[in-house]
């Protein structure tokens, strides 16, 4: 161990559904170096202090979206948040807010997965193309219109940031709406009509009160707040225009 090694206190929210009535905090003294992330801190705990600590992680470089946690109350990817920025104060690590806890820092993401499925996150072409017709072509401008919305890594930080999702977990939420928008505005897609039903529904965009924290915490610089609020306009147009056009979006 190098001589510039210091000790930081990491407070971890522990919860074991088999034995605990409710979550409780546990503090560990963790030796760290300047290059250590919060993720490496909790990995140290698991390896040397308490092997029963549970958390998700994979890539360690903000690509996989597995290691989202509340770090001092802020939704963050623990792999790109560094212990040195908190030292000498204690750093508090908790499971992502607004989700049921499965164990310790692991949340139950079933609801989120269902939402992802519900938006039909794939291109729905107007008509099927045969192989002989070749690939779908798209101009750089057409790509640019939706590209940022396609960078989502499903880390769910935006859901932990969204007070409205916290109040009503039926709300389709920021990441799913950003992805829905990404497909709706893709020049190759013709599934908007089907997806608008969800946008227009009581679980849809109007749960959002334009807080904007979702976009702030996004580690991939997606702007879900923008997607949600553009779709308020789309949904309002759909709401009133359906009286003028024979085929409205939703029933």
């Amino acid at each position: 161990m190098s001589e510039n090694q210091r000790i930081i206190e990491i407070e971890v929210l522990r919860y074991n559904p088999e034995t605990d009535k409710e979550p409780s905090k546990q503090v560990f003294d963790v030796p760290f170096t300047d290059d250590m992330s919060v993720l490496q801190g909790v990995q140290y705990i698991k390896d040397y202090l308490d092997g029963s600590l549970s958390f998700r992680w994979s890539c360690r470089m903000a690509i996989c979206g597995s290691c989202g946690m509340m770090i001092n109350g802020e939704p963050s990817l623990s792999c790109e948040t560094f212990l040195r920025d908190y030292y000498p104060a204690r750093v508090r690590v908790e499971a992502l807010a607004h989700f049921p806890i499965e164990k310790d820092l692991v949340i139950n993401m079933e609801g989120f997965i269902e939402k992802l499925e519900s938006i039909q996150p794939y291109i729905i072409p107007k008509e099927a193309r045969t192989l002989a017709q070749g690939e779908y072509l798209q101009t750089p401008a057409q790509l640019a219109s939706y590209e940022q919305f396609s960078s989502c890594i499903n880390c769910m930080l935006c859901y932990a940031a969204c007070p409205q999702f916290g109040l009503n977990s039926d709300f389709i939420g920021p990441a799913a709406m950003a992805l829905l928008h990404r497909y709706n505005i893709d020049s190759r897609d013709a599934g908007k009509g089907e997806r608008m039903e969800l946008v227009n529904s009581e679980e849809g965009v109007f749960n959002c009160t334009a807080v904007g924290y979702c976009s702030e915490v996004c580690p991939k610089h997606v702007d879900p707040a923008n997607a949600v609020n553009q779709n308020k306009t789309n949904s309002a147009a759909d709401y009133f225009m359906r009286f003028l056009t024979p085929k409205g979006g939703a029933k």
Binding site: S118, N200, S201, E202, E203, F206, T209, A236, Y239, F240
Partner: protein, 122 residues
């Protein structure tokens, strides 16, 4: 399995909220300044700018009527929506009761305004 989705009626209230918000942002501070400070204090405009006779004539003019109606009604729809959602945000989920009070208040005031503006004639 696909859930049955119910269309939200929020666009009606959201559109009124948006219209009121735009209007209040653009005109609200200026109106407060003119009606609350500039005229009573005799700044820039003469004190009798808002005399009864002048205001009555303004309210009897079709454009003036429209202006007064939009300002009162849309400001109130905006406020109603804002209050309703703020109640929800601070943990008061009064649901239908809050909805009735907030939007009902705005609707009632809209109707009273419309009636009054029509009653004072053209």
């Amino acid at each position: 399995m696909k859930k049955t989705l119910k269309r939200s009626n929020a666009p009606i209230f959201w559109a009124l909220f948006g219209a009121g918000g735009m209007l209040s942002a653009l005109l609200g501070p200026m109106l407060v300044f003119i009606t609350g400070l500039a005229i009573p204090l005799g700044m820039l405009l003469p004190v009798d700018t808002m005399s009864y006779a002048k205001m009555l004539a303004f309210a009897q003019n079709i454009v003036g009527k429209g202006f007064i109606f939009a300002i009162i009604s849309l400001f109130l729809w905006h406020a109603a929506h804002r209050i309703f959602h703020s109640l929800h945000d601070i943990g008061i989920h009064a649901g239908i009761v809050a909805k009735l009070i907030c939007y009902g208040g705005a609707l009632a005031a809209t109707l009273v305004t419309a009636y009054t503006l029509l009653a004072i004639g053209f």
